[in-house]
Amino acid sequence: MSLQVENLTVYYQTLRGDVQALEKATFAVADGEIMGLAGESGCGKSTLANSLIRLVPPMRLVAGQVRLDGELLPLDDAKRMSEYRFTKISVIPQYAMNALNPTRKIGKIIAELLQSKGVDFATILPELKRRLDLVELSHDVLGMYPIELSGGMKQRAVMVLSVLLNPSLLIADEITSALDVSTQKAVAEMLVGFRDREFVRSLIVITHDISILYQMADSILIMYAGQLAEKASTDVIIRAPRHPYTRLLIASLPKVGVRYAERRLSGIPGRPPLLLDPPAGCRFRDRCSMAFEKCMEVPPFVEIEAGHFVACWKEFGADADA
């Protein structure tokens, strides 16, 4: 599978004008790749995820194209898009613990959903049971109501359901945010297992927790204020980031073994801009110590070395450092 996103621009319509939440996003996800999507709250990662799977008002597709396995996705046409959903592209939502209808037994929910997609429940039942075993859920779960399950169990049930039809691309939206560390590890391992067992071909994992991505992602895409900042393999992002924002981000991660008395946590001073009326050019320039006049223009997302993309004039502009 391959995902190609070109110039994707999505705004939110509000009474006070358009919130420019996602601006000209261009990137690709290769077959079998687990790409992490990270950034501060409000940087546009959820917008990106939602545009791919469920673009509904007040979101508005302004420009751009998305190709999945070469096919153009009809993002803003709900009816045509529903053919791709669940079968080609699927999601584990942020609200996974509330994602199941509370007044229906879980098995029934799955059966009815499959039936509406033209899949016979009985045929898929053995596979479903195997997968329940994989995530350590008893088969009895199918005969229970969601309220009878714990939060973690519900999330695992949703994980199983979302990949049941072996989609090409799975988007996992902040699924570890509400979990404790040991459960986070289990969930991360489950997701990687999905890819390794080819339940899904590629994954986009959205989080604001880079440490999780370090454990499971092949590559990381960093976003800031609706713009793409940097994309590279996990190793490179962590050890040799090039974008000023990524560098500050990595630097502000607490390091194991370093105590507060020895070295204080450094943050990034300032706040992300409001996207109702965003600044022109690179949106990080107000907080960037290296900003100069060229930054008034939007830097393109350029591949400075194999598989490493940066959007920063300093990195490839006329006065780029070596």
């Binding site: 509000t14 009474l15 007040p58």
Partner: protein, 286 residues
């Protein structure tokens, strides 16, 4: 700084919400009429001003006159006063009791909750009309305040139930747990953490109680259990039917009062929906 921003944002949406604007305008219109109306007429509600008895609306008598030659418009504007009074006092009292009972039940839980629940159920089941009958038999002279207080004291169960449910859901939220963990006294928790979140909900509850009290009063007035020394819209309809306005076609006597009630209460309900949209961003229309 954040609080001010949030409040002004709420105001921003409030001023632009159509339902809120229409609803409040209608209510305000009648409210203004309540104050301005008596100045526009030189009669008193029960004065016999028209020797010709019942007459349709004319330039002299804007809403016509009753069978006894009383000016319907005068009765109407004075009756509006009664309506608003009942709404404010009756609705306010009902909300107040509902808050006390519902909040205590929801916050404390356990035995307190059970006991208050039983109290609520009993009030719901007792035909309050029966109690009113007794009161009416003893109090030969009754005013609007008496009626309002009575309505407030019997209409609170609905408010109590709603507030209790809301308290339950708020109580288990994380920020309350956090406050409790930090050792805040229960009173401070209630006032600083829970109350602000309840405020919008309480406003909605109050508006519903307001409307309900008006309808309740209209019913009571209509069957003769209303105030004896004042004029109210329900009373006008009662008199109209009693004196054969229906059969004699004196439509100007009974149509305006009911129409006003329908308009005011309807506007209140619509305002309620609008407010709900303002407070709950998910419901906002774009």
């Amino acid at each position: 700084m954040m609080k001010r921003k949030v409040r002004s944002e709420t105001l921003y949406f409030a001023l632009r919400n159509n339902k809120l604007r229409v609803g409040l305008s209608v209510v305000l219109f009648f409210l203004v009429l309540t104050f301005v109306g008596p100045l526009l007429t030189r009669y008193a509600p029960y004065d016999y001003v028209n020797p010709l008895g019942a007459q349709p609306p004319s330039a002299k008598y804007w809403f016509g006159t009753t069978m006894f030659g009383q000016d319907v418009f005068t009765q109407f504007v004075y009756g509006l006063k009664a309506t608003f009074l009942v709404g404010v006092v009756g609705g306010g009292l009902g909300t107040l009791i509902g808050v006390i009972v519902g909040f205590t039940a929801g916050y404390r839980g356990g035995m307190v909750d059970e006991a208050l629940n039983m109290l609520t159920n009993i009030i719901l089941v007792i035909p309050t009309l029966a109690i009113l009958l007794i009161i009416a038999a003893y109090l030969k002279v009754r005013g609007i305040m008496t009626e309002s207080v009575f309505i407030g004291c019997t209409a609170w169960p609905w408010a109590a139930r709603a507030i209790r449910a809301q308290t339950f859901s708020l109580r288990s939220r994380d920020f309350v747990d956090l406050a409790r963990l930090s050792g805040m006294s229960p009173w401070r928790i209630i006032f600083t953490e829970i109350a602000p979140n309840m405020m919008s909900y309480l406003l909605l509850v109050f508006i519903l109680q307001f409307g309900g009290a008006i309808l309740n009063a209209a019913t009571l007035d209509f069957i003769g259990l209303g105030p004896t020394n004042a004029v109210s819209l329900g009373l006008m309809m009662n008199n109209a039917v009693l004196w054969g306005a229906l059969l004699l076609g004196i439509w100007w006597w009974f149509i305006p009062p009911g129409l006003a009630i329908m308009a005011i209460v309807g506007a209140l309900y619509v305002t309620n929906v609008g407010l709900d949209e303002v407070f709950n961003p998910k419901l906002r229309e774009m």
